[in-house]
């Protein structure tokens, strides 16, 4: 039954607007804050009316924080770039390792297979702080401390299990006979993996990659301990806003907005692949 009368649509519209407002309010507030000076923000009572300023963004992009008379050099844009390099490279490496592994776990039964898969998952259970200190000592010995490579390696703890387990489920849903049909036509195993299995699991791979990217982007503690400001991502970089002369709320808000943009854009781009799975349909044998 279809309710198409206008008051039903109006009612639905109002409900949707309220729900969206409720969930988006904090983000909206932060967005407003990013255009205000610290004085405007700390005004009591708070008011939605203010004269917008781009000073916060200007300060971040120039890399000079001015607060209460003193200036502080920061490398916020560099931090965003680091975040991007770390997250993107970690996800790419995890895809390279994780997708074939997920396929193997989905298709073949081998000795200790289930144990290996579970061990990889269990990396997600361990509190990172537990392993960080010993890791720091090793990293300093190996010369991996404060390098992109070292951090990307550690980030595999976050991204690899995620990709492995999500993509494995997608491979399991694709009937192996679809690949078999391709293989008896004279194609090799590798071609059937690349041409049949991977494209059919693409929505899953896209979802897993996006999630892994977000998790990597939001990571804080690994980079805090295993790198200096040269390689540190924005999560760590944001600490600089808490200065001796007070907390710069406007700059924090602007920093937040800047740091959300890359993930936001990525999610929009990936959306195409995420919904692709719905139209494909009937993959399940």
């Amino acid at each position: 039954m279809q309710h198409t009368s206008w008051h039903w649509r109006l009612f639905k519209g109002i409900c949707l607007a309220l729900i969206s407002l409720f969930f988006l309010f904090p983000i909206l507030w932060v967005l407003l804050m990013s255009f205000q000076t610290n004085e405007d923000i700390l005004r009591v009572p708070p008011s939605p009316f203010f004269t917008p300023t781009l000073d916060n963004y200007r300060a971040l992009i120039a890399g000079e924080l001015t607060g209460a008379g003193s200036t502080l050099k920061i490398a916020y844009m560099k931090n965003i770039w680091n975040s991007f390099v770390l997250s993107a490279c970690s996800v790419l490496l995890s895809l390279l390792l994780g997708v074939p592994a997920a396929y193997a776990f989905a298709r073949y039964r081998f000795r200790l297979g289930e144990n290996i898969a579970f061990t990889l998952l269990s990396f997600r259970f361990a509190p990172p702080l537990l392993v960080l200190l010993p890791l720091l000592l090793y990293f300093q010995d190996l010369g991996l401390y404060d390098t992109y490579f070292g951090l990307i390696w550690v980030y595999q703890l976050i991204t690899l299990p995620l990709i492995l387990w999500i993509v494995r489920g997608y491979f399991e849903d694709v009937s192996p006979d679809i690949e078999h049909a391709y293989r008896i036509d004279g194609h090799s195993w590798l071609r059937s993996f690349l041409k049949i299995a991977v494209p059919l699991a693409r929505p899953g791979i896209a979802a897993a990659a996006l999630l892994a990217f977000i998790f990597a982007w939001n990571n804080f503690v690994f980079a805090l301990i295993l790198g200096s400001s040269d390689v540190q991502p924005v999560t760590v970089g944001a600490l600089a806003f808490i200065t001796a002369s007070g907390i710069q709320y406007g700059q924090i808000a602007a920093g937040l907005v800047l740091s959300v943009i890359p993930t936001f854009v990525l999610a929009l781009v990936m959306q195409r692949y995420l919904v692709e799975g719905l139209s494909l349909g009937a993959v399940k044998g």
């Binding site: 289930e114 293989r183 036509d185 494909l280 044998g285």
Partner: protein
């Protein structure tokens, strides 16, 4: 096109954490070049497993398989030159039905017009010509099944394996389609193994039928031979519609030679066997009486009619002798109402005896007659 040999092929699945499953045990089979074989058996008896070993998707646990004199065991699926229609259709979802069917030919870089012509021809054969441009997820499962069949038939492979190619189709379509498939395969001299649950399909389609049960090959013979000389109790109880009557009985010595007595029917059912049937007296047997060789109307035996069913071209009669049920089939109408006692005769060629312990056939009336 080549002959297929299976030498004591065994498949044992070893699922993790569970008991091993013997899906196929010591299967011996020789399929001639250009022959069509049906693999007939109930669900789970190992038919699909056998095909998967031939295609190479499952390793052979024991034994060897060869095709055209070439040992297949170690070859990769791509090198075996077999075509298969899968039980689950397994069409590639992002491609249209047309592209799915043409896929193998396109890969072999066949000329464009030849591909178009062949696809049209095979689509016509299986009856999917009007859904060629649709995607697999938008057509019915019957159409998907036919598309998958077309994809297998279009290839000029050495061996065609069709796993239940008509299970989704209605009886009328099936009858037409199996005749067309047979013609297609025979015209091209293709060797084929067709898996089916359906006896009628098997009989209509195949030169020889391999009956399987619980991972073993029970008998591998022509349809006529299966009917007239079933090798064992299982085949006797499985083949035929309705299947053979099986009655516990005993061999005795009568005035004119060996005879078989069914105690369950009292003294009412005693059958004389020819002198040549060398059977020890007192031997316990299963007596098989094929329904088509029970001639109702006249004869030395008497039975009560329980059900008299005219099926339009034949009559199925449920009879009872002293509480022992028997089924008889007559070619024409039979004038008898339930409750009536009718005379009947057992034609000698309808008598079969099976060893009670092992179930192997020890006597066929039809063999004596021939």
């Amino acid at each position: 096109m080549a002959d297929l040999m299976l030498n004591s092929v065994t498949k044992i699945y070893r699922p993790r954490g569970r008991e091993a499953v013997r899906a196929v045990s010591g299967l011996d089979m020789a399929v001639g070049d250009g022959e069509i074989i049906a693999l007939l058996g109930s669900s789970g008896c190992g038919k699909t497993s056998t095909l998967r070993m031939i295609t190479g998707f499952e390793a052979v646990s024991e034994g060897s398989i060869s095709l055209g004199g070439r040992r297949l065991n170690e070859l990769r699926p791509a090198e075996r030159n077999v075509a298969m229609a899968f039980e689950g259709y397994s069409l590639y979802p992002p491609l249209t039905v047309r592209d799915n069917v043409a896929f193998a030919l396109l890969r072999e870089r066949a000329p464009r017009e030849e591909v178009v012509r062949k696809v049209a021809e095979v689509a016509e054969l299986v009856g999917i010509a009007d859904s060629l441009d649709r995607f697999p997820s938008t057509i019915s499962s019957g159409q998907q099944q036919r598309a998958s069949l077309a994809r297998a038939l279009i290839r000029p492979a050495a061996l065609h394996l069709l796993d239940e190619p008509m299970s989704q189709l209605e009886p009328q379509v099936r009858a037409i389609l199996r005749a067309r498939i047979k013609e297609w395969l025979k015209d091209r001299g293709m060797t084929a193994v067709v898996v089916t649950h359906d006896q009628t399909d098997a009989i209509a389609l195949a030169d020889r039928i391999a009956v399987m049960e619980a991972s073993r090959l029970m008998q591998f013979a022509t349809p006529a031979e299966l009917r007239e000389r079933p090798a064992n109790l299982f085949v006797a109880s499985f083949i035929g519609e309705p299947p053979m009557n099986l009655i516990e009985a005993e061999v005795a010595v009568g005035a004119s030679g060996p005879r078989v007595v069914a105690p369950a029917a009292g003294s009412a059912l005693t059958l004389d066997l020819p002198q040549t049937a060398a059977l020890p007296a007192g031997h316990r047997v299963w007596l098989g009486l094929s329904p088509r060789h029970l001639a109702v109307g006249q004869g030395p035996h008497r039975a009560e009619v329980m059900v008299n069913q005219w099926l339009g071209d034949q009559t199925h009669l449920a009879l009872e002798i002293d509480g022992l049920p028997l089924t008889a089939v007559a070619a024409g109408m039979v004038d008898a109402v339930p409750g009536e006692v009718v005379p009947f005769a057992v034609e000698p060629r309808g008598i079969h005896l099976f060893d009670c312990a092992e179930g192997a056939a020890i006597y066929h009336g039809s063999a004596e007659a021939a």
